[in-house]
């Protein structure tokens, strides 16, 4: 039964910002457990699609289904509780909290004990806090940040902040994980580590993942066995395997419009 395996479906999504059509009639369907990439030149509307899925932006037209049910007009926190979590292109950690506290927040954004228990901190509440602490440390370990657990998030180097955002997103126990340019600003070694990390969490946690990325090497590697969606000026330009995308004349033309990315692209 293929239909029941569909986790996310975007149907004819369109968004206008004033006069700008940022997303134009985009449809996309994801099966549970897939990892796909969303690429496209700057301003193509990639981040806006994440904002639509997480309800930070409301579509002008179209429909979004999670496990077959519409999630339009739910609030971002409800969406999170339904099992969608994300990272941000412009890192949005809680800057004054430690790495550990950032992850912990994702675990208790819906508190696990009552307010009365919070004020008197019953043994049960303490036990819950201990469990939460353990889980947070496990997640930090999974992204290899355990030694930075008590460092302030804002004091971490850029690459580590990106990994921390992934751990925080994982803390909300998502089914669907949206990664917005997780490799931005990383060098080749860091990119390779990141590829491994994303592979690992994809397999171990059985997430469904959409990744937005400009580093073509990362995209091609992560989506070896799946699909890449190419967005240009708000519209889907192409969908296909890394091979198909690399040889697609429309895609090459879209990227040639922008020299920096064209270089990235040919380099991969």
């Amino acid at each position: 039964m293929t239909a029941s395996n569909e986790i996310l479906s975007l149907r004819n999504l369109t968004v206008d910002f004033g006069g700008v059509r940022a997303v134009n009639d985009v449809s996309l369907s994801l099966q549970r457990g897939e990892m796909v990439a969303l690429i496209g030149p700057n301003g193509a509307g990639k981040t806006t699609i994440f904002n639509l899925i997480t309800s930070a932006v409301q579509p002008t037209a179209g429909e979004i289904l999670l496990n077959g049910k519409s999630i339009l007009r739910k609030s971002p926190d409800q969406i999170c509780r339904l099992g969608i979590s994300r990272t941000f292109q412009n890192i949005r950690l809680f800057p004054q909290m430690t790495a550990y506290e950032n992850v912990e927040l994702g675990l208790h954004s819906t508190p696990h004990y009552s307010l009365a228990e919070a004020f008197v901190r019953t043994p049960r509440a303490r036990q819950i806090e201990n469990d939460t602490r353990k889980k947070a440390l496990e997640l930090l370990e999974m992204v290899n940040l355990q030694e930075y657990a008590h460092a302030r998030a804002a004091s971490l180097p850029y690459g580590l902040q990106r990994r921390l955002e992934i751990a925080r997103a994982m803390a909300t126990s998502p089914q669907l994980l949206l990664l917005d340019e997780p490799a931005a600003g990383m060098n080749e070694d860091e990119c390779n580590e990141l590829i491994e990390l994303i592979r690992k969490i994809h397999q171990q946690m059985q997430y469904t993942i959409i990744i937005i990325e400009h580093h073509m090497a990362v995209v091609m590697e992560l989506c070896r066995d799946s699909r890449i969606y190419v967005l240009n000026l708000g519209s889907l330009l192409a969908v296909g395997s890394p091979q198909e995308i690399q040889n697609n004349p429309d895609v090459i033309r879209a990227y040639l419009g922008e020299r920096k990315n064209a270089r990235d692209f040919s380099a991969s």
Binding site: D77, C80, F94, L105
Partner: protein, 295 residues
């Protein structure tokens, strides 16, 4: 002795109200310039319960806090619901507080209760003494600490640092902000009650914008995301002008000056991000022991 008693009592009451503002402003990042209004509501409510209905003053204080907390929803719900920007929320609290004061100022009686309008509500039993205040302050600090270190409190802190990220990570903004506002107004309400039982009367003139800005100043000077900071500053802000009477008239000018200095040199406040716990004391101690060159 009586004089020092008076200062400690007034400072203690100020500390309780400032703790309320700390939870709302220092932790949750929502600025209020209207907490005097909540003090007034809690103060009159608990005074009426004791004087007119013979309620014991302790449950009356709690009821006053509860009443202030519940009325806070009148501004909180519409403001948070419509995602009013932070500065508009601050102005809404000011408007609310001034409205409360003006209503009290023009209300001579509520039914058979002679609230006395601008003359004040007289002959409130004087239950507040040094020990009552010290007990109340200790409890207030204890529960504030329990709250801000709980999962609920940490969600408030997340909102204070990045509201969008907090919501995306699953924090219910409306509920969490209303909770912070409720607790914060509760504290102010209890402080207002203690004030009435101390002076044995309540006048709308106690609860002006000057009172509100005193409380906000305690939090901004004392430090955001800190309880010890506002406690220390709330004490100083009462004690110093009392001891140096001459300074009192210059208070607002000195505040203005200090605000600017703090904003420039220590925008997080004197004790910003310093929690009341041993962890920080230890960190500070180690920092002090390290050679200067390494700092």
């Amino acid at each position: 002795m009586g004089y020092i008693n008076a200062i400690i009592i007034l400072a203690g009451i100020n500390i309780i109200a400032a703790l309320g503002v700390a939870i709302l402003t220092g932790y949750t990042g929502l600025f209020s310039i209207g907490h005097a209004g909540f003090m007034a509501l809690g103060g009159y409510f608990s005074a009426i319960l004791v004087k007119e209905f013979g309620v014991h003053f302790v449950p009356a204080l709690l009821a006053g806090g509860l009443f202030a907390g519940l009325t806070s929803f009148i501004i909180g719900y519409p403001a948070f619901r419509s995602r009013l920007r932070g500065d508009y929320f601050a102005i809404a609290t000011l408007g609310f507080s001034e409205a409360i004061r003006l209503i009290l100022n023009n209300t001579r009686e509520i039914g058979f209760i002679k609230t006395g309008a601008a003359f004040g509500y007289m002959n409130i039993p004087g239950h507040t003494n040094l020990w009552v205040v010290i007990g109340a302050v200790v409890l207030a600090i204890y529960f504030a600490h329990m709250f801000v270190t709980s999962q609920y409190g940490k969600n408030c802190i997340a909102i204070g640092q990045d509201e969008v990220a907090a919501q995306m990570m699953g924090v219910d903004l409306l509920k969490t902000k209303l909770l912070a506002l409720f607790i914060s107004a509760f504290y102010a309400g209890v402080a207002g009650g203690l004030l009435g039982f101390y002076f044995a009367y309540l006048s709308p003139s106690f609860f002006t914008i000057t009172k509100s800005s005193d409380l906000l100043a305690a939090v901004v000077f004392g430090g955001i995301q800190s309880l010890i900071g506002p406690v220390v500053t709330a004490f100083i802000l009462i004690a110093v002008p009392e001891v140096l009477r001459a300074l009192a008239e210059w208070r607002l000018i000195i505040y203005g000056f200090l605000f600017v200095v703090v904003m420039i040199y220590r925008p997080q406040g004197l004790f910003g991000y310093v929690e009341m716990n041993l962890h920080f004391a230890r960190a500070w101690w180690q920092r002090l022991r390290r050679p200067v060159a390494e700092r």
